[in-house]
Symmetry: none
Subunit: 415 residues, 2 copies
């Protein structure tokens, strides 16, 4: 079963807002075995909407439109789709009662313009919207399924789950399951080289790579009757991936961030982490505390942005700072060593580097970052040569620091 | 002049990532007088890409594609577009040299698969990519302009500005100038009420509002022959906006962040800021140090996530912590007072709150945050009742803290 999605709205076309409904509907439809091969964005314009609708209805079994169901003159989706099928709009008494009660329950008078939102072709099914004034509409015509949904994501998303998925899964009877392996520290192309044969030949599960800064997700997708069957399909592939690239894997599961993996492992091992940041300026702390419950593993952090702060707060010696410079292996080592000593955390993690765009030299270019961890086992430093803008350098440095914390936490054996 | 945009990528079509390039290109093309009437998303599939490309070339003068320029077998955009025009790919020596040096400068061996990224039709112009391995491509054929750009926004966006806009504006000869007034602490609807008559009636410059968490941008857009004329068109509107909502304005200029406004003002006034963060966990420090040159105004910050850290590092009394709790006006006050005293910064800023999703009570619900600043003039605390998820609560709290720093810096008179 094939579907198309059309986002309607001049504000989308002008780039004033970004369409997120398209990505959402794609993910949700995949779960019930419906594939989307095309998505479009078109303005609130009758002729252009008709053209896109016509093309979609020729290619697909299901067409889902979002937006243009509001009360103003700009909003023409319902009128245009109805007229495409030769249907006329009539005021629906039940929809009108719902609309009136929506306003009265909020202590507001219903503006006259909203009346159009209660008008539908009598051939259509009205889809309830619990989060706004515009009901959706479902039409079965000429063997095609057409859904009209409101544009705002907080109205659109629940309606997809409540009104679209049940109707489609009852037709397809299939479900797609996904499973994600999260990696850090290996590039997409290097990962591709290592998994190429699996990626290119397997079709249940399929394997795909998705890169973001420093991280690549390996996504497995399987068609299966139920969760148990899906797990059985994933298992051999998961094992093979683990065998080949296990040392880069930080976790498994749909939306697991590196921060979450770190905090979970620290909780599991009952360890505390402390931070001292120079070039990352608080980002490592921010990432740790992105995770609810991180207060169990994180008490204290420092942003030692100046040399003086490194000396006063972390006892990095002035001699070391002068001799090697703030961005050096020696300073990173001293920061980590003294941070651990001062805070008594099990793992102390620090950063010092040149995030750019200025401040680089031939010897110490922008992107040079030292990250270090100290445990009761001693201090480890890594020298990173990162590329990209300031934001990217800082993000990669902070993630690398978290990765080192995770490695230490995994290997941690109490004194 | 009409353009279409095609985002290519199965990961987009599956909803794994959200296309933001579409909204970006729409905004940017508007500046040079080029309108987009259709945008599409299509997978890495030759037949479907050809179909969408063909439809676009029949409707538009300019077609811009993003994605599918990577090194793997999935990436077929360049091959498909070239074959549509009957052109063949050849290895380009200059592109190959650039690619090789990209890898060698990062101390990495070029994987063999990347070689395809240096292959282009000899009829095409190669567009430089300073942020990745995939160069773009520009083709002028049959009176149409076709641009191929890489998919990742950090590569795509600079290439639009460097390679697409100059080529198109030289053809259209028109330019749209924009000017942005940045506000904090007033909602989009409240701002709309105050500026309604201007927004609804003016057409050169037009006025539009764009909301993001805590902030609203007021964007003026003018058609003008040159920069000087544009400035003259903007001036009366800018003055009127300033008169009506001046107290919410943190700055002027295209991409000015609140952090940048804060750092600029601190530099101008030769002031230092120090941070101590509880619920924001390093985010305020991160935001300050997002700005290049922030080391001139920021030496030291603390993440005092536990009560013990607030007591040990910031001398918040145990009695206060026990009596009022960590999330209280009293603790925020003591944190700010002692932070200023300890660091000798001109402005000390702190946060303490409940970011959620857990930890709220009837008395102290999720979203309750105290932010405080201390200067030689004393301590000011603000109590915030923020709504939204953990990320939003923390972001709003950190921005509010920065806004307080900006207010103090503006009003600062030396002792």
């Amino acid at each position: 079963m094939k579907a198309e999605f059309i986002a309607v709205g001049t504000e989308l076309l002008l780039g004033e807002i970004t369409d997120t409904n398209g990505a959402f509907i794609s993910r949700e439809l995949a779960r019930v075995g419906v594939d989307i091969y095309y998505r479009s964005v078109v303005g609130d314009n009758r002729e252009r909407l008709l053209e896109v609708l016509d093309a979609a209805l020729h290619r697909a079994d299901v067409v889902i439109l979002s937006g243009g169901l509001g009360p103003t003159n700009d909003d023409i989706t319902k009128q245009t789709v109805s007229s495409y099928f030769g249907l006329t709009l009539e005021e629906n008494p039940e929809a009108m009662a719902n609309l009136a009660s929506y306003f009265s329950s909020r202590g507001r008078q219903m503006p006259e313009v909203n009346r159009i939102q209660a008008c539908f072709p009598k051939e259509a099914e009205i889809l309830k919207n619990n989060n706004g004034t515009a009901p959706g509409m479902f039409l079965q015509r000429d063997g095609k399924y057409v859904f009209l949904l409101p544009g705002p994501p907080r109205e659109f998303e629940p309606m997809v789950k409540e009104s679209v998925l049940p109707r489609l899964s009852s037709v397809t009877g299939t479900q797609l399951f996904t499973y994600t392996v999260h990696t850090f520290g290996i590039s997409e192309s290097a990962l591709y080289e290592k998994l190429r044969d699996l990626i290119d030949t397997q079709d249940n599960p399929t394997i795909a790579l998705y890169a973001e800064p420093g991280q690549v997700r390996i996504r497995l997708a399987a068609k299966a009757a139920d969760d148990g069957e899906a797990k059985a399909i994933f298992l051999p592939t998961e094992k093979e991936i683990n065998r080949r690239v296990g040392k880069y894997i930080y976790g498994f599961g749909e939306d697991l961030t590196l921060s979450e993996a770190v905090v979970q492992k620290l909780i599991e091992k009952k360890l505390k982490v402390a931070t001292a940041e120079s070039c990352t300026g608080g980002l490592i702390g921010k990432m740790i505390t992105d995770v609810p419950g991180s207060s169990a593993v994180y008490n204290i952090g420092y942003v030692t942005y100046s040399n003086a702060a490194k000396n006063v707060e972390l006892s990095v010696s002035k001699t070391t700072l002068e001799k090697y410079g703030a961005v050096s292996q020696q300073v990173a080592e001293e920061m980590a060593y003294h941070l651990k000593k001062k805070t008594k955390a099990h793992i102390a993690v620090v950063s010092t580097g040149i995030a750019g765009p200025d401040g680089g030299t031939a010897e110490k270019p922008v992107g040079l970052v030292y990250v270090a961890v100290a445990t009761h086992d001693g201090v480890k430093v890594e020298k990173l040569n990162l590329s990209g803008n300031r934001d990217r350098v800082r993000t990669l440095a902070a993630k690398h620091a978290l990765w080192m914390v995770l490695s230490e936490a995994r290997a941690y054996i109490s004194e």
